[in-house]
Symmetry: C2
Subunit: 197 residues, 2 copies
DNA sequence: GAAAAAAAATGAACTAGTTTAAGACTTTTA
DNA sequence: TAAAAGTCTTAAACTAGTTCATTTTTTTTC
């Protein structure tokens, strides 16, 4: 069966961990909602309860919090083939501390909380899919939380460039600074230093 | 049915997310290995392939890496009712960068990789258990990786004390410094400052 | 329970990263 | 397409956290 591009992308993402029959694929796709966000528009704002978990089929978004001084701390950038959202807010139905803003015109597939619960009843294989997906995310967050504490800002920048070369060129230096955990001024210094090396 | 203390502890831990029949409980327990480690002994050393994922029934352990300069970076403390190990090494059968050392005489239940795989075949409910366990761990690592980058050392210390009051008193200040990501000297200063407040 | 080893405290000199401010460059918007 | 808004660069003064060295206190070991 032939699917549209965004559906092929999400089905391939899922096929990394589990095999679905045609019928299951169609059932799964029927549980998703298509969402478009313009550049600079918000997908989520602090105080909201997360209505969806998102899969990005096109574009780029940043997930961030604002601290007491109003300074942004970016926790992730999400591009095509990535999952994003606030899983704590989504699961516990409590207000999120996050903002999610499109840095490019973006297209997403969202699964609502009701459909997420339904999914496990209708296609129990998805327990395995999410078990493995969360396991992999966990592995990378464990690494990131250690790096955040044990590496210098310069090392974190070099590591980010090595790990996400496709993202570096799509985001501003200022946002990258917000992710690395330093000021834009210091980010500028690091970049000119690293480029000089 | 009456179980020994360590078995009751792990069964209660699992019962937070899934219900098992008596038969399933017995099957599950049969897949576990009992492990004891003396204070200062290693459960795992860098270069090993992780043979088990562990549940702690008694004691306290620290999980850490050594950087190029030989300085320890502690990624977690594990006490009774906690799960630990190196999930990346365990899953991918590749060498671990971690050391796991008992800071007290400790007792654990381990599940081997072969039995972990068997578990999902024999009791598919465990997909759900691990899906939720990994989801919860993910939520706390997401928070920790953000805090590691956006909070000051003093704030991280206060946060650790608030979140793990039962652990603070069981570990040395030096190890806590290795977890917070600062030198023992600076940890000492922070503690005397915070206590003075 | 004495001796040895490890942990904790303190202080002075140092470095990674911040703050503030100002000018140049780039992108967005009317 | 001009003006406004946002991003990037540079630099000087500052602060959070490190390093090194020494002393005191606590824990471990025989």
């Amino acid at each position: 069966m032939k699917y549209k591009e965004s559906h092929t992308l999400i089905l391939n993402n899922i096929a990394r961990f589990i095999d679905l029959t045609e019928l299951e694929k169609q059932k799964y796709l029927s549980l998703l909602t298509e969402i478009k966000v313009k550049k600079k528009a918000f997908l989520m704002q602090a105080g909201d309860v997360a209505k969806y978990e998102y899969f990005i089929t096109k574009g780029c978004l940043k997930v961030y919090t604002l601290d007491e001084d109003g300074a942004p701390h970016i926790s992730m950038f999400a591009v095509e083939d990535y999952w994003t959202g606030d899983i704590a807010s989504f699961m516990m139905k409590k207000p999120t501390p996050y903002f999610i803003k499109a840095t490019e015109h973006s297209e997403l597939l969202g699964i609502s909380r009701a459909n997420y619960d339904l999914l496990f009843q209708e296609i129990p294989k998805f327990e395995k899919f999410y078990r493995i997906l969360y396991q992999k995310s966990l592995i990378s967050y464990i690494q990131r939380s250690n790096h955040g504490i044990s590496l210098t800002a310069e090392e974190r920048y070099i590591e980010f460039k090595r790990k996400y070369p496709q993202i570096v060129n799509r985001i501003t230096q200022k946002d990258l600074a917000g992710y690395i955990g330093i000021t834009p001024e210091f980010m500028s210094k690091i970049i000119s230093k690293v480029n000089r090396m």
